[in-house]
């Protein structure tokens, strides 16, 4: 890979060990994947922002980098391990909280906006078409490439960090036109219109295509929430970073019928009465919270219920009194975190209801819990 003089100097350690280490990660990736050069990036969305994910190994790595370097571009943080303000209400052990706060502070010190969320596009990290970015969080990557038409590869914690402090990424993969083409055409023969249905579609397709690029013909009922659910599910059962929405006749055609989505619903079927309900994987938009509030107005929930979102969206919800309605019904709005990334000790339940295929996929393994994937109104069981 070609390096400019300044980049060579960083690699040779002239700007210190930390910068050298970061540059080495980028150069190594560039060499493996055949990049021709490094290119400037407009933003970073950093994964590995929960102590549950970073562990001590990641925490030490981030702290070490934070002592010597700063982010060169706009950087937001992925979902963390706890609500940064109200963690004491959620059975988060002290040791976990202490390490999460250390991790968040290290990122803050480097200039990251410390609003932990998996939907950075709802809080102003909103790249434009064709902008090169370095994003982690599998759902956000898929959303950024496919819906926003920005350009990112699947960055892990160390590479997003390295890209942020250098301000560049190696030019390979989804940064290049030739890799942003469809591989399979999916014709959808059944109506999909809700978050649960778009999630099931993504889950089914992701498993088939793995790392390839699916193209959806005549995808109806698209909106930000449905496309967020589709992106998240495609990147859970598979490693999809990009999907396209157009007609492309030349590709191998795969039909998706009602029975195919039924397969997903059956995998995560109704298993009885829940003891926890979680909505907001990826983090809820204000419209989703509005809908939840309209369902719960004047009702009482029959299980613990957590609505997951980012701090700015919760502020809007507070102002609109949605939070008050949800709390009166017995629910809670939690910021910065999610069931998968929070401390294991705080997730001691038997059966989870959710409308998110992504959460349904990860929760059984991570939280040792059963899951039912249901429509939003069916998740919100009331007395």
């Amino acid at each position: 890979m070609f390096l400019e003089k300044e980049e060579e100097k960083i690699l040779d350690g002239e700007y210190g060990e930390v910068m050298e280490k970061c540059m080495k990660i980028l150069v190594k990736l560039g060499d493996i994947y055949g990049a021709d050069k490094l290119i400037d990036i407009k933003s970073v969305h950093s994964p590995g922002a929960s102590y549950r994910v970073s562990g001590d190994a990641g925490l030490n790595f981030v702290e070490e980098v934070s002592k010597k370097a700063e982010f060169k571009c706009f950087t937001t943080l992925n979902t963390g391990g706890m609500d940064l303000e109200n963690w004491k209400e959620h059975n988060i052990p002290e040791y976990f909280a202490e390490k999460q706060l250390r991790l968040t502070r290290a990122y803050e010190k480097m200039g990251a906006i410390s609003c932990h969320t998996c939907t950075p596009y709802f809080i102003g990290n909103l790249p434009l078409e064709n902008e090169d970015i370095a994003w982690g969080e599998s759902s956000a990557i898929c959303f950024a490439n496919s819906v926003l038409k920005a350009r990112t590869n699947r960055e892990g914690g160390p590479s997003a960090l390295a890209a942020g402090v250098i301000g560049k990424v190696p030019n390979y993969g989804y940064h290049r036109d030739e890799n942003r083409k469809g591989d399979f055409l999916f014709k959808i023969n059944t109506e999909v219109k809700t978050v649960r249905e778009f999630g099931a579609l993504g889950y089914y397709v992701g498993k088939i295509v793995g790392r390839k690029v699916p193209v959806f013909e005549k995808l109806r009922n698209t909106n930000l929430d449905n496309l967020k659910a589709l992106s998240a599910a495609l990147a859970s059962s598979g490693a999809v970073s990009l999907f396209l929405m157009k007609k492309e006749e030349s590709l191998e055609r795969i039909e998706v019928d009602k029975k195919d989505l039924k397969e997903v619903y059956e995998k995560f079927g109704d298993k009885g009465k829940p003891d926890i309900i979680c909505i907001g994987c990826p983090h809820s938009s204000i419209l989703e919270i509005k809908e939840i509030a309209s369902i719960l107005k004047g009702k009482k929930l029959d299980a613990e219920c957590y609505i997951l979102t980012s701090k700015p969206i919760k502020s809007l919800s507070d102002r609109m009194k949605y939070t008050e309605i949800i709390e009166k019904a017995g629910g809670k709005i939690v910021c910065d975190t999610c069931p998968i990334l929070t401390a294991k000790e705080s997730m001691n339940y038997d059966l989870l209801y959710t409308n998110s295929a992504k959460l349904a996929h990860y929760a059984p393994g991570v939280c040792d819990i059963d899951v039912s994937l249901l429509e939003l109104k069916d998740c919100l069981v009331v007395k």
Partner: protein
């Protein structure tokens, strides 16, 4: 038999193979404290990756997987080496920071769980 592939991260390791035809996510798919596969329905669910030569087609899922692999290695429950059909960036990044020998472009159908392997990642070779 010598299988030729591509070096991802240099190094040498030998040990027994643990093979799955299913893609792996180190975040949510592997317990970083025990090294056990916890993804429900994965072909090797319940098996432990500790000190194995871990053989799988490619990575999938969460981008948290890079740090989770690093954490597995730091906790001494990581694999000795990784062999993939196609290296996906999340595991590659984890292997780079962990200094874990890794090779891809290997026909993993030729390897079975329990096979003894010598992995010369620097040369991009697996000796079966």
């Amino acid at each position: 038999m010598i299988l030729k592939g591509r070096c991802i991260v240099e190094g040498y390791a030998e040990g027994t193979a643990l093979v799955t035809k299913d893609p792996i996510s180190f975040m949510g798919g592997v317990d970083p404290k025990t090294g056990k596969i916890i993804e429900r329905g994965n072909e090797i669910e319940g098996k432990c990756i500790k000190d194995k030569i871990l053989v799988f087609p490619s990575a999938k899922g969460s981008t948290g997987g890079s740090y989770m692999l690093y954490e597995c290695v730091r906790n001494k429950v990581g694999p000795k080496a990784i062999i993939n059909l196609e290296a996906e960036s999340i595991v590659v990044i984890g292997a780079i920071v962990s200094n874990l020998p890794m090779i891809d472009k290997i026909d993993i159908n030729l390897i079975k769980t329990g096979d003894f392997l010598k992995v010369n990642a620097t040369k991009g070779e697996v000796i079966l």
